[in-house]
Symmetry: C7
Subunit: 76 residues, 7 copies
């Protein structure tokens, strides 16, 4: 797995399930479909988690990069 720049880690996670944590404390999981240099992100099959439980399903989701704290690709 090649990773020289941080965005390479997002590229490696494309079409895989990722966990997003937002500045307002929310957690989202979904399949990473697209991202750009602002870390604007599109998830599919997205779900909002509260205490690890699915709170609601959101299908396709555009998330503005400046609200994101971290993105954690799953370990598969």
């Amino acid at each position: 797995m090649i990773m020289e720049r941080p965005l390479d880690a997002l590229n490696n996670a494309k079409n895989k399930r990722v966990l997003l944590e937002l500045k307002n404390g929310r957690q989202l999981v979904g399949v990473l479909k697209a991202f750009d240099i602002h870390i604007n992100v599109v998830l599919e099959d997205a779900e909002e988690l509260v205490n690890g439980e699915v709170k609601r399903k959101l299908n396709t989701l555009f998330i503005r990069g400046d609200t994101i704290i971290l993105i954690s690709p799953n370990s598969d």
Copy 2:
């Protein structure tokens, strides 16, 4: 549906109903008429939701991009 960059997801949602969540916790729904790279957005037939209920109708609405957390196109 082609989606290589995050803004493609917004382009695919043009003229469809979308849900917006703002940094101040508010939810808006409306027909996505326009957006730009700052994620400035124009909605038509916009409504503000509180607990899933329509609180007020706002017709055309310009929303400044830096107040937006996420945009969720409807799944149709």
Copy 3:
């Protein structure tokens, strides 16, 4: 009404009454006289609203774009 970019919606609202909502929760109404790409805005015959009631009149008003959440042109 042509609208390809979000600022077109503001252009269509020029010289009409608009409602502004600011990040500090305040509401302003007035006639939209000018705006720029930062969404800096000038209103004339501006009034501050509290709970829908006019709290004070402010005549000409320059509002810095980064304090604005949304701009709602009236539907006439």
Copy 4:
């Protein structure tokens, strides 16, 4: 009075008394002597108002643009 861009409103207010409201809730009045595209502003004969009363006099005052919500020229 010509006003095509928002900064024209500030240009029209030069050497006149203006009211500034800052993001921390403070109000300043003074004679507008200079401004730039960041909305950095210089006031002379500046006073800080609390509940409409003069709290202190500050003479010349440089105010950083990103702390400003609005600038209201007097209506003369």
Copy 5:
């Protein structure tokens, strides 16, 4: 005293005592030695004020521009 742009006011205040107010509510006084377009500032013989009393002396002080609300040159 020439002042066409806001930074001219800071230039006129060079080597004079100024009052700085920061976004966290603190007040600093000191001799203005340098500034740049970001309003990064260097003070010498700097003191932090609390309720108008000197709380501590800080000698040379570099202050990052984005923490500054206003700079008030003394009126001499």
Copy 6:
């Protein structure tokens, strides 16, 4: 160890364990795999610490630079 610019310190820490502190008060440790000029960072074998105890393991982690306060390379 050569260090002329701040990013040199991060370069020297590549492939070593580092401690990150975020603006929301959280602490993360992990192996620094990549960073860029925005201080976007990728950690591997990442763990979130609460009071010095491991709260959860997160494997690969992309962290947006603007949420980071400091990065402390270990002293080996």
Copy 7:
């Protein structure tokens, strides 16, 4: 000591002990090893202070510029 621009003050402080105050209220002291135009800073032999007492030692420390309020070089 030459100082025409604010960064000259930081240049004069290189390899000397400095005090940093961060936006979250924390104080750090350490030897200034590097800085850049964003005021990203590297300290060595860094310590976090609470009420003037050393709370913990952190060795090398990269601090992101946008979290810094001020930098105070020691007066030697």
